[in-house]
Amino acid sequence: MKINRFYLGIGACLVLSYLATAYVDNQYYFFAGFAILQLMVMALAWNILGGYAGYVNFGSAAFFGIGAYSAIVVLELFDATFFTQIIAGGCFAGLIGFATGYLTLRLRGVYFAIATLALLVVAETLIVNWDYVGGAAGAYVLPTKNPTILGVLIVGKTEALFGNYKELLFFIMCMITLATIVICRFIENSKFGRGLAALRDNEEAAECMGVPTLKLKLIATSLSATIMGITGGVFPYYMTFIDPVSAFNLDISVNALAMPLIGGTATWIGPVLGALILGGLQQVVTVTISSSANLLIVGLCLVAFVIFAPNGFLGLIKKYRKNGN
């Protein structure tokens, strides 16, 4: 019964988000919504490795940027469609994630964290020096006019599924977010998730009990990187322009890590809650104060939460309830 309720909720969110694109006129909501959803997917993906397995990834932006630039490369090479692009972004980021994990996951967790940060700088340097995808100057992505799927017009002024591209991308981002939530929940309840939890608590003990730790860590890293890559693959289309600075921005890494830590890392609810709170706050602060102030708030919240509320917002709620009873 409970599972059904969960999937009903997911389905309802999907329908609601489509209805929103049909009936809401103010484009700012889609802009802000897209930003928050993007943060949410990154946070959920980070949590697969960071929350469930306890391995910190500082290079979320690297996988995001690799996804974005893979999309650009397949666009330049084959004139690929939008969906091919995001799939390519996911696959390539997943491969890089697997390779990074394979090289460093046998060491202490700290080294994996530093290596992912290293990956971020190496990937950015490669793209800056690669003129084919625009180099340091960046590249423009122009959306195709009147795209159709199975003869149905997707984007157009009249008689189309979506009024404009921003609405379409908002809806796609909703689908990605919901799919990621389903994946995360599935992991939590599976043997795979329990294996990750075991190695997070005590890797040696888990290994002794027959948990294939390296294999699980590699799967988690690749999966997390793939989701980040898919999110990155949507990004160039959304911005219609991409350059190495925005694709490989450290802010993306900080947000992806701060949101689960602020919300709570144990379940998928934590990153979602963290993204809603912090992402919403950021939108408000960006509009009312300035965009660098919003980064300061993320940093301060992150430090405050890791010092004073190690189990995040959900941990606080649990503690409060316990005290209340």
């Binding site: 990074t100 700290v110 290293a118 990956l119 450290l250």
Partner: protein
């Protein structure tokens, strides 16, 4: 016509080979200076990360903070940047004591997951950077002193004092710390904390106090390293990130906690970077340290002079 055309071609060839030989020599000299400077950047981390096992990922951010303090006092009062670095070192020392205190109380003492400690320093790094951006913007800032523009020439080799002065200070600092940690009581206690802090406790010494002072010391080096950085090149708040790769690559490559290993690794990296910058262009240089780091982690995680088994576990 043909005969007249040949000699210039020969001379030109000869010139080219001479030119690249000169270039190579100069690249090596600059590489050595750069290596010394890198040693100054990473010596503090070799204490905090190598000896105390505190993954202070904010180390480069504190170096940038030190550099900006130099910039402020230099542009307002015209003080010498190195002097400012030395004067502000005690303040950084106190800051280090405070940070270690928080770190100890909230993470080390209660045996929190290493993830949280990492996130704590990552957050600190981000806060320092954002505050600097908010107060100084993203423009490049530089300092002024008489020796910065001075350049000595020996034959074909140029010695820019902009590089030489930081190199000299860095070497003095690294050798000083090496002597300090091998000759003095406190230095040996610092090594002992890394090896067996329980044994230290049984000897009647409080390891937490030793670690606190050692961490303060590691942060104090940031102040001086920052002064050297701002002498060598103009800075802006976010350049700190680029040095994360350098400092961690050097500390791991040098073998955790080994000061002489750190110096050797810094020299190697400095030379490599100078050669690549000279022959392939500066836009490639950020990737070198990080590639070196990934390769070291993948193939030689115990470093050059490291103890076996340091990085595994």
């Amino acid at each position: 016509m043909l005969a007249g055309g040949e000699p210039p071609a020969n001379i030109n060839l000869w010139n080219v080979s001479m030119f690249s030989f000169e270039l190579l020599l100069n690249a090596i000299v600059i590489g050595i200076f750069l290596g010394g400077f890198y040693a100054a950047l990473s010596i503090g981390l070799s204490i905090s990360f190598g000896l105390l096992d505190i993954v202070n990922i904010a180390h480069p951010a504190f170096i940038i903070l030190g550099a900006f303090i130099c910039f402020i006092f230099n542009s307002h009062y015209g003080l010498d940047p190195i002097l400012i670095g030395i004067i502000s070192a005690p303040v950084f020392f106190l800051l280090g004591l405070l940070i270690y205190r928080i770190y100890y109380e909230r993470f080390e003492k209660i045996g929190a997951e290493p993830l949280r400690g990492l996130a704590f320093f990552f957050g600190l790094m981000f806060i320092v950077e954002v505050i600097l951006i908010m107060s100084f913007g993203v423009d490049y800032q530089m300092v002024h002193a008489d020796y910065i523009d001075y350049k000595a020439t020996f034959g074909v080799i140029d010695i820019p004092f902009r590089m030489f002065v930081p190199f000299a200070i860095a070497i003095v600092m690294v050798i000083g710390l090496q002597l300090f940690s091998s000759r003095t009581f406190f230095g040996r206690a610092m090594q002992a904390v890394a090896q067996d802090s329980l044994a230290l406790r049984l000897m009647g010494i409080n390891p937490v106090k030793i670690k606190m002072i050692a961490f303060g010391l590691s942060l104090a080096t940031c102040s001086i390293a920052g002064a050297l950085l701002v002498i060598i090149m103009p800075i802006e708040p976010s350049v700190g990130r680029l040095y994360i790769g350098q400092v961690f690559a050097i500390v791991v490559l040098g073998g955790l906690g080994s000061q002489s290993g750190t110096l050797i690794a810094a020299m190697l990296l400095g030379l490599l970077e100078s050669l690549v910058t000279t022959f392939f262009g500066p836009s490639w240089s950020p990737a070198i340290a990080f590639s070196a780091l990934i390769l070291v982690l993948a193939f030689k995680p115990t470093g050059i002079l490291g103890r076996v088994g340091d990085t595994r576990g």
